[in-house]
């Protein structure tokens, strides 16, 4: 049967994929996609815990995470469009304007 551990393994694998994406890619749009993957992986973990412990708090946490993800996308994409208009690039290296 499928247990709590199975869901946690899937969540861990998805979280690792998102982490690799965040550390590997240099395109800012790809960084946003990777953060979405991270948030979804934690959501799976929360909902699985909610089912196997008989506790609704996990589902509520997942609900608030979805709200946070939606507002993060709105603000982040607005800033990204503004940055692209100003510099013409969405590469992460173009953000290095403060050289020490």
């Amino acid at each position: 049967m499928i247990g709590f551990t199975h869901y946690l393994i899937v969540a861990g694998i998805l979280f690792s994929i998102g982490l690799v994406g965040i550390l590997k890619r240099k395109n800012l749009l790809m960084l946003f996609f990777s953060t979405e993957i991270l948030l979804n992986a934690t959501n799976i973990g929360f909902v699985a815990a909610s089912k196997y412990y008989g506790d609704l708090t996990g589902q509520l946490a997942a609900f608030f995470i979805i709200a946070v993800a939606a507002s993060e996308v709105a603000v982040g994409l607005g800033l990204l469009v503004l940055w692209y208009k100003r510099t013409g690039s969405i590469n992460l290296d173009s953000l290095q304007i403060m050289r020490g």
């Binding site: 690792s16 506790d55 509520l60 997942a62 603000v75 469009v81």
Partner: protein
């Protein structure tokens, strides 16, 4: 048996989709794969008896967030391939070690949390949506209202950041134009 097949199918599909998202060179492929992965994740939620979250996942992620990304990508050159110029051995090793440690921690977490007490128990005679609503509007009311304010702030900031010429009103300018043409 049915649950077993569904779980492994959705797990394979989700992992495949997210691998395409992370490793694809083309931003459009990557966005489409991300949208697919979001829908497959809602399959996990339906398997876990969280119907409300499954529906919210489909509506919010693949409806709202992916549409926002699609409209946002019209501002960028998404047709050409993403240029990324680095090859670093050190990064690969660091990533591998970090991911391994992370998986161990995630799998060990239920052992530490096994003696935690339940906060909001699942009531048997109520449905998922009803019990979730009861918990949300009693125990988590302030968090709910704060998240509503947060969404409002995010909406206003999105409008203010992207739109130009907020200081002159379009409708007023239209009225002036029509009066002049008359």
């Amino acid at each position: 048996m049915y649950e077993l097949v569904a779980f492994y199918l959705f797990a394979a599909l989700t992992i495949g989709m997210f691998c395409v998202t992370v490793f694809s060179k083309n931003a459009l492929y990557s966005m489409s794969a991300l949208a697919g992965g979001m829908i497959f994740i809602s399959g996990f939620f339906f398997l876990l008896d969280a119907e409300f979250l499954g529906v919210v996942q489909i509506i919010v992620y693949s409806g709202a967030i992916m549409a926002l990304y699609a409209f946002g990508m019209m501002f960028f050159d998404s047709t050409d391939e993403v240029k990324e110029d680095f090859v670093a051995k050190k990064t690969v090793y660091t990533l591998a070690i970090l991911s391994a440690v992370l998986i161990v921690i995630i799998l060990a977490a239920p052992l530490w949390g096994a003696h935690l007490e339940n906060a909001v128990l699942v009531t048997e005679n109520l449905g998922n949506v009803q019990s979730l609503g009861l918990a949300m509007f009693t125990n988590y009311l302030i968090a709910f209202e704060l998240s509503a304010v947060m969404l409002l702030v995010a909406m206003i900031s999105g409008i203010v950041l992207v739109s130009k010429q907020l200081d002159n009103s379009i409708t007023l300018a239209d009225e002036v134009d029509t009066q002049e043409s008359l």
